[in-house]
């Protein structure tokens, strides 16, 4: 057990990956000498060399495209896209190549590539540095999409992602990068694609992932002070979704509210609401509600507190759900 930030936990996880597998590589912009703009890869190039921790040209499509080539050669690249809003130049390589080549090959080719993407808002950043593009990738068959919410999951999930023979898009909630918590390095708590009940309750279920897990837990604490016990489920895996715990929770509480930063229309919440309605129709006491970013481009940072789902918006949705 050690207390550390998510940045340190990711760094420790990456270090273990490099130690355990000679074929593992880290590649991206500024990941080497600088240690990454968030220092997630701090000191790794110094300790493992520039052949294993590769500073790349400033070209996102190039990062993913060459990672595919390296994987075809037997390497296991872990790529860093510096910020969420910079992933789009790599979209073709991610969606048309990384996701599709294994299937194209009839399963003869596997592409064990991890793409790390710091994502989400709440840090007062300029445009393109606060986005939540996870639904694009969860919509793409062939990719697995996961996100961690705390340091312990960060440490274990990055290692599990690197061990996967399928491509994994690994979203890191950058506003949670510096929150400290305990990391248990003795054993993985869950599988990479398992959802987790982060708090038990009976009145309603909050479904969150990444940066909004903390928001949901805070909302549950506040509600508890008023005698309303909310259950919080941390999705962890956005593709595939671990439906069993979600359905079990909804059958228990009868009410669900999905919370994410990405815009609501056709976001993760849309799929979750639709699927839970299909599977748990007779258990529902209220429609599945969504608390999300608005359907606008991410606003100027002085407006982001209004844009992001926060404790008050979540509690307001809980009230609406309970009133049905």
């Amino acid at each position: 057990m050690a207390t550390m930030t998510m940045v340190k936990a990711l760094n420790a996880g990456l270090r273990r990956i490099l130690e355990e597998d000679d074929k593992a590589l880290i590649m991206g912009e500024d990941v080497g000498r600088l240690g990454g703009v968030f220092r997630v890869t701090d000191a790794l190039q110094k300790d493992f060399g520039a052949e294993r921790v590769v500073d790349t040209p400033l070209a996102e499509s190039g990062i993913i495209g060459t990672a595919i080539g390296l994987a075809l050669r037997g390497y296991r690249p872990i790529c860093e896209i510096q910020f969420d809003g910079f992933v789009y130049p790599a979209f073709d390589q991610l969606v048309s190549q990384l996701a599709k080549i294994p299937n194209r090959s009839g399963g003869r080719v596997r592409l064990p590539v991890v793409v790390r993407i710091p994502y989400g808002g709440g840090i007062g950043a300029i445009e393109h540095h606060s986005e939540s593009p996870e639904a694009y990738f969860a919509h793409t068959a062939g990719l697995k999409v996961v996100t961690c919410a705390d340091p312990n999951d960060a440490y274990w999930m990055i290692r599990q992602a690197a061990a996967s023979d399928d491509p994994v898009i690994f979203f890191e909630p950058k506003r949670r990068y510096h929150a400290k918590a305990e990391v248990d390095t003795t054993g993985a708590p869950l599988g990479l694609h398992d959802a987790r009940v982060a708090r038990t309750g009976s009145a309603a279920t909050l479904i969150a992932y990444g940066p909004t897990v903390d928001v949901a837990l805070n909302a549950a604490s506040a509600a508890a002070e008023e005698g309303v016990e909310l259950e919080v489920v941390d999705l962890r895996s956005l593709s595939p979704i671990d439906w069993e715990p979600l359905e079990a929770s909804l059958r228990k509480t009868g009410r669900a509210i999905v919370v994410h930063e990405a815009p609501g229309t056709l976001g993760m919440g849309s799929e979750i609401a639709a699927r839970l309605s299909e599977r748990c129709f007779y258990s529902l006491e209220a429609p599945v509600l969504r608390v999300t970013g608005y359907d606008v481009p991410y606003p100027a940072s002085r407006l982001e507190d209004d844009y992001l789902p926060n404790l008050d918006r979540v509690l307001d949705a809980v009230d609406r759900s309970l009133e049905y």
Partner: protein, 385 residues
Amino acid sequence: MGSVDRPRPAKKTAKSRRNSASANEPEFVQLLTPEGKRRSHPDYDVTFTDEEYRGLYRDLVITRELDAQGTALQRQGQLGLWPSLLGQEAAQVGSGRALKPQDTVFPAYRELGVQWCRGLDIISAFSLFRGVDLGGRDTAADRFQMYEIVIASQTLHAAGYAMGVAKDGAVGGDDGEAVIVYHGDGATSEGDFNEALIWAGVFNAPLVFFCQNNQYAISEPNTRQFRVPPHRRAEGFGLPGVHVDGNDVLASYAVTEAALDRARAGEGPSLIEAFTYRMQPHTTSDDATRYRDEAELDYWRAKDPILRYRTWLEAESLADADYFAAVDDEAAGEVRELRQRVMDLPDPDVTDMFDAVYTEMPAPLRAERAEAVAFRASLDEGSES
């Protein structure tokens, strides 16, 4: 419409290219003229045995006939689409035969001739265009990657693979590995191609970019792709660029062998622009009469890669009428066999679309698969009754 929007006649293009050549532009590499006369070049030559010279002719003819069968099969409804390589046989056979067994090929989608020269089963090209599968093969064993439909995407894969070859320490010496990536003139406009040149350059990857400049990206001529031709653009990326007559099998072989040897020795990447012509439309779905005229086709017919090579073989008494007839017979046999195998390709099973997406099928996908299988079975039962 201004005349600037129309492709210039190829003859004028070729002439203006020479007229505009700067003092330091590398010389156009040609070892065999369109009339079938041998030429020398200060930097490039080939030395083959008589048997090897004849072998190139055999490859050229069989490639052309297999490709023609692709077009025929599409016309007869047996393939959904066929992208013909007619006219580009020399570029493909010359470069393809220059590869050593340890080298790896990243093709685009028109590289049937290279696939043939690698000694590989070409049926995968036909199963792909028949819609039986997506073109999957044992690419690791073949050292010939899957066909790539998205323009220029494979150039980055090749750059990454070549970086891996260098990381493995597999460059250096005659047994070093080299990588070659095939692309067209249209690809040179794509961002991925330019990124691949950057990456190959800064990482000194053992990679050869083989650009078959067949003059057209569907309907768009070279004038819509670049102001500076690819072989000259290479210099800006720090790579040597070579301009070769892509309808000359000997020159195509010579420049590719040199570029591959350079790569395998650890001396870095280079780019070859093989100047050739796509005699057929872009694919069987295209209508080339909308954007080019018969005079242009006549101009390129006179540069036919097989005719000039046969003329030279005859003049040098390297092959006689019996040999040419035997090659024709062999090609006809290959075509007959191919045709039968294409017709015999089994239709895929409904489960095929599910089974290779992930290493381990996620539970939600398992449920969808079961649903699809059950639904198909219910339809089959209905049709039987």
